[in-house]
């Protein structure tokens, strides 16, 4: 389940946010603190998570303290399901 979640998130980030479909994103790679995901795209990620997994991430949570890599984001999603 977690691998599936991570794969779906990685695909979305590479294709829709970074527009580099071939980019491989490691599960422990920093996403927010590294600047990889632009602040303008955090909303897109939150909306994708909501539509795909039915889990809501509040806007005040869209920062590196809540999650900073795919592992942490997948854990957050499963904890709220």
């Amino acid at each position: 389940m977690s691998t599936e979640t991570i794969n779906a998130l990685a695909k979305f980030i590479a294709e829709k946010i970074l527009k580099q479909p071939n980019k491989v994103i490691a599960a422990d790679e920093a996403l927010i603190s590294s600047g990889l995901i632009d602040s303008f795209s955090l909303m897109d990620l939150a909306l994708f998570v909501e539509d795909t997994f039915g889990v809501r991430i509040e806007d005040t949570e869209l920062n590196a303290d809540t999650f900073d890599n795919l592992d942490q984001l997948a854990a957050l999603i499963s904890s709220r399901k």
Binding site: S33, S39, F40, L42, M43, D44, D59, A64
Partner: protein
Amino acid sequence: MTTLPNLLQQSYREVPDKTSVILQHAGQPDKPLTYRDLIRGANRYALTYAREGIQPGEVVILILQHGEDLVYSFWGAILHGAIPSIMPFLTEKLAPEKYRADLASLISITKPTTIVTYPEFEAEVRGALVAGDSVRHVILTDQIEAETEPNFESLQGFKSTPEDIVVLQHSSGTTGLQKGVALSHRAVLNQMDAYGKAIRLGPASDVIVSWLPLYHDMGFIACFIMPILLRIPLVKMSPFDWVRAPYRLLQSVSQYKGTLTWLPNFAYNFCAHKIRGRNLEGVDLSSWRAVINCSEPVHVESHDLFYEKFSAYGLRKSALQTCYAMAENVFAVTQSPLDGIPVLDEIDRETFMTKRLATPPKPGQPTIKMTSSGRPLPNVKIRVVDESLNDLPERAVGEIAVQSDCMLTEYFNRPDATEAAIKNLPAQGGVPMLGTFPAAEDGSGSVSANSWYLTGDYGYISNGELYVSGRKKDLIIVGGKNVYPQDLEALASEVPGVHKGRTVAFGMYDEEEGTEEVVIIAEADSTDPSKMEAIADAIRKHVTKSSAIALRHVKVVDDKWIIKTSSGKTARSANKEKFLKELGAS
């Protein structure tokens, strides 16, 4: 003529209990500040500047985030007669070493004596200082004098004259930070007066709502200095909160019956695409009398998207307006009349591209829809000139030149840049010119009768309206932020494997986003696809961390791809054309 400190003092005496600013922070209750709060808070900083021995006329750099300290430290500098300038705060996107380098570059030209920041950020600031530079004080927000009743007689800012420089505005990046636009009290107050008339600003009825940062003219002048000086309530949220939750802007307009907002073009698309209905329940936008599109090229499609999305919540079509503005004129140059919708001018594409003329559409031929930026403010004159500074007729595209009584005094400590931008133009004879404002012949104000500011923007005049069509100076505007391509090219050149100086950066309009996206093309040693991909990745990381600009396309090419010319400007347009052709073909 009065000065900014005098206006603050009058507000303190006349309307101490009136709400001046409502500061919003996501997850916290709103924080209203009355004029009494604002001026007493500013006075604490003025006393602190005096305690530290800071002299009037010295530059104070403010490195603070959205919040009370930024507001007080700014107006405190004004009360003290020091010259404040607001610098962006470090974000996750930017590498700290690059931030320090930008700060050091600003210090080397602007020569501030003082920096104000948070205790947590002191080390970062000190890391940018070098022995022998101009900075003598780093003031921390926990070292500020206690609140007392302001003693206006002893505050140094009351000795300022209208001609004194009151603020500096910088744009971003290495190049932008080295050109501080210096504005006098007179220029700021003349702009307020003229712009206030153009938008029929009313202290009894208007409420400005803004998420814009204060280090950019639109947020700084229209949504900070103007409302505070003219007693218009200002609801101000953090740009960081807005970008994560754009619906907050609409909720605030609804809650506080906001009447005026300024947005860069991309924000119309961003709001239309990213706000969900559940965040708009009960929202009423009928109080919004103008949402003014400014600081990026205006695209009518963005207005349409915004209207389609929010008309169900009371947004009026007539609220969607346009403005052409620049820090060098304090802020606005033109404004669309607020009683209708901005004029649309549909022109023939081919004639526009090849002959630089805006002519009526030809049957069956492709067209371009140009949106008017409106008419000049009552204190502004505009003309359009060719390369040799000769006036052009109506509907001919040329460089826009501006004259007003609210122009910059100079680029601070940059006589070379000032001289390059302000030119003497001969009086006109029978050519179109917008505006009737008579230039001051007596030397009052900063410009003489023949001085015109050459904006570096291209446009044309038709029927008393100004249409802005492009830029002469190479500048990419991404999400309302000005970026110099030469800065990005230099950064890409630093990446190992890239041939130094063989990089090209340019902007490409993205219709979905409503703004320009940055493309970088870089020449590299290797033709091995996996190595080229690794270099592209390294360029993305390095440029983003060093400029806080996300790149849309990075193309790594061999040594035959890039078209080389003697000027960076022609190289950029030639390579952009080649890139677009390949993109279209693939």
